[in-house]
């Protein structure tokens, strides 16, 4: 796989633009998945895919074959996703938040049977997880998403985020602590329920 990536990269560098298509076909979906995990919606993820490959093509001369092409590509995708998330934050601040109302709605749900109880629990977990993820720094959130959802190793995540092993681990530790803090009360109370 790596050898054919390198071959496609070399051919593209030599002026064979069509060779780049091999890389688009090989990594288009995984870049989409990563972008969706990071941005949370498919429209942004599609944009990230386009922009990632465009940037990769333009910056191909700076790619060093010591690292894998996919890691280099994911780094571009992660950085662009973070740019997009930051630009969204400005717009998010314009929205009227009604989180307190949402809590009231959740609290008003009466769990009368095990099925409803489970739905209520899942909704609470989701709500708290969403809130916790927003509290994470960009670096913590990316590291956590790559580790927890994408199953990437510490080394791979470090390469994507341009961090050392120790800094990568610390980002994950901080993320897990914050998420745990947010979810533990809900999980404990659900399990303690009769």
């Amino acid at each position: 796989m790596e050898a054919t990536d390198l071959s496609a990269v070399e051919r593209t560098r030599a002026g064979d633009t069509a060779a780049f298509r091999v890389l688009v076909e090989r990594y288009g979906r995984s870049v989409f998945r990563l972008a969706f995990r990071m941005t949370g919606n498919e429209f942004d993820a599609d944009d990230v895919v386009q922009e990632t490959f465009l940037r990769a093509f333009k910056q191909l001369d700076s790619y060093e074959s010591r690292s894998s092409f996919s890691t280099w590509l994911y780094r571009i995708a992660a950085n662009y996703s973070l740019d997009l998330i930051r630009s969204r934050k400005r717009h998010a601040s314009r929205r009227v938040t009604e989180s307190s109302d949402e809590e009231d709605i959740l609290d008003s749900v009466k769990a009368t049977d095990p099925g409803q109880d489970r739905i209520y629990y899942s909704a609470q977990v989701k709500e708290r997880l969403d809130a916790a993820l927003k509290l994470l720094s960009d670096q913590e959130r990316t590291a956590f998403l790559l580790r927890h959802f994408e199953g990437q190793s510490i080394e791979q995540i470090g390469a994507v985020l341009d961090l050392g092993v120790s800094a990568t681990k610390n980002s994950i530790f901080r993320a897990v602590r914050k998420i745990r803090e947010a979810l533990e009360p809900v999980v404990s109370s659900y399990e303690a329920a009769p």
Binding site: R29, R33, L129
Partner: protein
């Protein structure tokens, strides 16, 4: 006295980063085992949200949109254009470009133009127009994406977006007229579709509630506008480089 595992060790163990190194201790030490199980319970409920399906032709579609842009060194799209404050001057620039286009096209020529220049001038005009239409579509797309991405459960303050939509409607009509003059039916059709949605935004309230958002999203989706704009943007970029 046996030393307990740190929380960091438990997290790394959960993610399989330490192999089986922690297992002997966890099987011997009930305190650490309880702490680990507590961590497991929390992390196990953090499920990955399902990734939207992409059909079999996804890579082909990505390549089709990408290929025309390869080879260009300057980026024709900047995320910062999303800032509505930057849209008004850009719309004004687009209007000026169109004005220049028409002025050049219809103004009388007092002297004969050399053959080579006569061929080059329309080429320049068309390129200017292509760039301007491409920019217009890009700005419109960003506004549509803002609506498409808006949280349906949270009202959206849309006063800036409404003003942007009004500017875009005005520019859209100019581009539509120009496209009608040049007979570009694909651009005409797209601009017609786009205008209907832009008008709805331009005449909508400053604060979009759930129903307003849902209506707009349905319109955008039904018209397939975001996809059409992407395809048109690729085509225009391709023509621009020819």
């Amino acid at each position: 006295m046996k030393q307990h595992l740190e929380e960091e060790d438990l997290i790394l163990h959960f993610y399989g980063e330490t192999g089986t190194a922690a297992e002997p201790h966890l099987s011997d030490c009930s305190i650490c085992r309880d702490r680990y199980q507590s961590l497991q319970r929390v992390l196990n409920c953090v499920d990955a949200p399902p990734v939207p399906h992409r059909d079999a032709g996804y890579e082909e579609a990505v390549w089709t949109r990408l290929a025309p842009k390869l080879g260009q060194r300057s980026r024709w799209f900047q995320p910062s254009w999303f800032n509505p404050r930057k849209l008004a001057p850009a719309a004004l620039a687009a209007v000026l470009l169109i004005g220049a286009f028409f002025a050049g096209k219809y103004s009388p020529r007092s002297e004969p133009v050399p053959a080579a220049t006569a061929q080059a001038v329309p080429g320049v005009r068309e390129r200017v127009l292509l760039v301007a239409v491409g920019d217009h579509l890009q700005r419109s797309k960003m506004l549509l994406i803002e609506i498409a991405n808006a949280d349906p459960n949270t009202p959206l303050l849309f006063a800036d977006g409404r003003e942007t939509a009004q500017d875009l409607v005005y520019a859209n009509r100019l581009f539509r007229q120009t496209a009608a003059n040049t007979g570009d039916t694909r651009v005409i059709s797209l601009l017609d579709d786009l205008e209907r949605v832009l008008l709805e935004m331009a005449h909508g309230p400053d604060k979009l509630d759930n129903r307003d958002l849902e209506n707009l999203r349905e319109r955008i989706k039904a018209e397939g506008l975001i996809f059409k704009i992407r395809v048109a943007g690729s085509r225009l970029a391709q023509e621009e480089t020819l």
